[in-house]
Assembly symmetry: C2
Amino acid sequence: MDAREFKRFGYECIDWIADYLEHADRYPVLSRAAPGGIRGRLAEESPERGEPMEDILADFHDIVLPGITHWQHPRFFAYFPATTSGPSILGELLSAGLGVNAMLWQTSPAATELEETVMGWLAGLLGLPEGFKGVIQDTASTATLCALLCARERATDFGVNENGFLQGGGALRVYTSTEGHSSVAKGARIAGFGARNVVSVNVDGSYAMDPADLKRCIERDLAAGHRPCCVVATVGTTSSTAIDPLGMIGEVAGRHGLWFHVDAALAGSAAILPEKRWILDGVERADSFVFNPHKWLFTNFDCSAFFCRHPDILTSVFAIQPEYLRTDLDPQVVNFRDWGIQLGRRFRALKLWFVLRYYGRDGLRELLRAHIGLAEEFLTWVERNPDFELMAPVPLNTVCFRFNPEGSSLSEERLEELNGNLMNEVNASGRIFITHTKLGGRFCLRMSIGQLRTTKRDVAEAWEILEKSTVVQGWKG
Amino acid sequence: MDAREFKRFGYECIDWIADYLEHADRYPVLSRAAPGGIRGRLAEESPERGEPMEDILADFHDIVLPGITHWQHPRFFAYFPATTSGPSILGELLSAGLGVNAMLWQTSPAATELEETVMGWLAGLLGLPEGFKGVIQDTASTATLCALLCARERATDFGVNENGFLQGGGALRVYTSTEGHSSVAKGARIAGFGARNVVSVNVDGSYAMDPADLKRCIERDLAAGHRPCCVVATVGTTSSTAIDPLGMIGEVAGRHGLWFHVDAALAGSAAILPEKRWILDGVERADSFVFNPHKWLFTNFDCSAFFCRHPDILTSVFAIQPEYLRTDLDPQVVNFRDWGIQLGRRFRALKLWFVLRYYGRDGLRELLRAHIGLAEEFLTWVERNPDFELMAPVPLNTVCFRFNPEGSSLSEERLEELNGNLMNEVNASGRIFITHTKLGGRFCLRMSIGQLRTTKRDVAEAWEILEKSTVVQGWKG
């Protein structure tokens, strides 16, 4: 593809994205494709001869777009926000054009040094204590797995890395709350702890980890001959953004020599707000910490910020030194290949640098404050309607609620059915997309607010659609 | 950033990339930045107020670019090719604009179904046997780790996932050749096998795994009470693109019930050429297979194609089912979150679809044939010059060689010093970038050819620079 052709179609793609981001609400939020519907329209084999870019882009519009669930839609309230933004897309574009691999310092010094710099910026923005060194990972799943591996190796004097799991000795145990993310159990399986050695610590009424129960779990395990190894606290649980009390958890972890990892994948971004910085109180006791700028900091996926207080342990866990990767400068530079699982690494720092500079601290704070304000407003609407029930506190951007008609004494099964129907109906409208969870075994709907272009009108529209649904109206009528 | 501003800077970035890809040879291939040189020019803290995009892009040019090592330079002959291409960049751009997460079918049906489709296309292009199901991973490191985890779980009846490593029983052993990639040992550490349970199998004179030695290693381990678990064969070793004999290795693996994984990260692409398809002879015995379109198939990083013959095992290893990710359609659809380590997943299929369609089978074959032809030509120049020595066979695109003046009886130490100096000198010229390895303990230079825009003139220039270096000329003078 020569420069002329690249420019022609490049402009076309830029124009399309510019229009898309301003008018994503033209599309149904949740794709209406049926299983197999997209696949059935695609060729079964790759073409023998090259095809014109016109035809490929036409198929992008005709075949791919109807199968897209629009995460950039201002009324995408499902799962978690994953907002891209203009400066982030431009950073990703330039990074794709450069096509460098950020595995070694030598393979692009700017990629490594910009990564060191922006991770320092983030540490400053969040008010992380001195000593946390940052590296960009793809996802919090990976970052949490890295933390578990550090914990495992510190606990066994690097014995598993070298010898494999030791014969004899108690099982290494990992603690997280009943509301902790599925990546903890998954990581524990991958790293060889085993799912049964992930201990679920009780939560309090706000769905935050109960440090007293953590203490009890550890003491019970010690008495049983197990080896407590790692605790993963969550700042902003996936279901309800509950905030685990880091200070008290850290104290327990410290007393027993556990690696203390903090998973703040979604909510960490909120710590850039002085009035919300309390969510990280106690992080100074943590050994490692992760949050995802690709969730709620307007940086497109993937970009997960992992901080570790013991980079020496991290690099001991992951260091490799094949001859073909050695460089004369190795003793003087950081080679990020030794800071994680993958050898090859994308140049992700560029887009993050663009975002942090384009918006500035002020601009980012303003956006996050607006989202939190919208969640607080939505919360008041839920509270004012006696047919709806608030299911959890709302410290940040996520409201858990359900339809539960006043005076009804419906069974949990019936409420789950009703709310499931309600969710499916409003999602089928194409006007909003929300998802569900369970809290304390009770089915809830989730309203997760954090899209760059979401306004009060969008949130109000969501509430109106819910209130006017046939499920809600039918109950009354 | 509104549509107008996005378009303005979007066009500017497109223009820059168009020019960059056609004229990357204006830059020194290897960055001349000194350690800390880039970082020292960057602000220590993120700005309080947002900055104009003009300023940010100006700093991209002034500060970042001098710290880039140019992987897209036509005389980048280091490590491995990682060529981006016009259609791939456009696919990445649109994917960044859409900003969807491909974790579940529901979170964008088109992302999942396009991924199933293009992976089917790749299986057809490479002539993989029926039954291999594909999923896109970030890197071959991750894919190989997935294979090791499948091996571990199949060998222990999913016991490690559930219970952690069992107390008692012999150590699980992993086999790869002395030329196998560092990701095998790294993955074995992460998965809890332990570095010492990775057995290095001898290679033959062409640096390919010796199946007879594999058999001996397994028998020795069985006699010692170990449990042989997995063998990783390499199609195209990193040092010299040696091709392990898959058929014979698969036979040994099958006899002993080992998981048989094939790492064809770089070289797998060459199997699209009928005359090179022999490199995969025997792959029908493999349990899993990986190759990287982001290396030598003009798709920008990251895009690693992982195929597994037992998707049921793969998904059993990785499946998670938290309430907040359940959908009504789960029984009918593929949710790729259960096919790997990470929960969140980029929409990588789009760029691969663009590349496979834009170039077509014919176009891709033509490009790869040209690269292999250039390597064969370079090889003849090495062979004709009595001061140089060819260090390994050249089945594909990589030539291993060294300066070894005729008639000299230099020690290995002296040859390493000479060739290290030669490499540093030619790399410092900025005109080419080559890297080194060791084969059989002997220091070699590597010429790895596979950049989209590399021509015969570029390869000839590399040879001329080597021949005219002061190291070579000084020896004569």
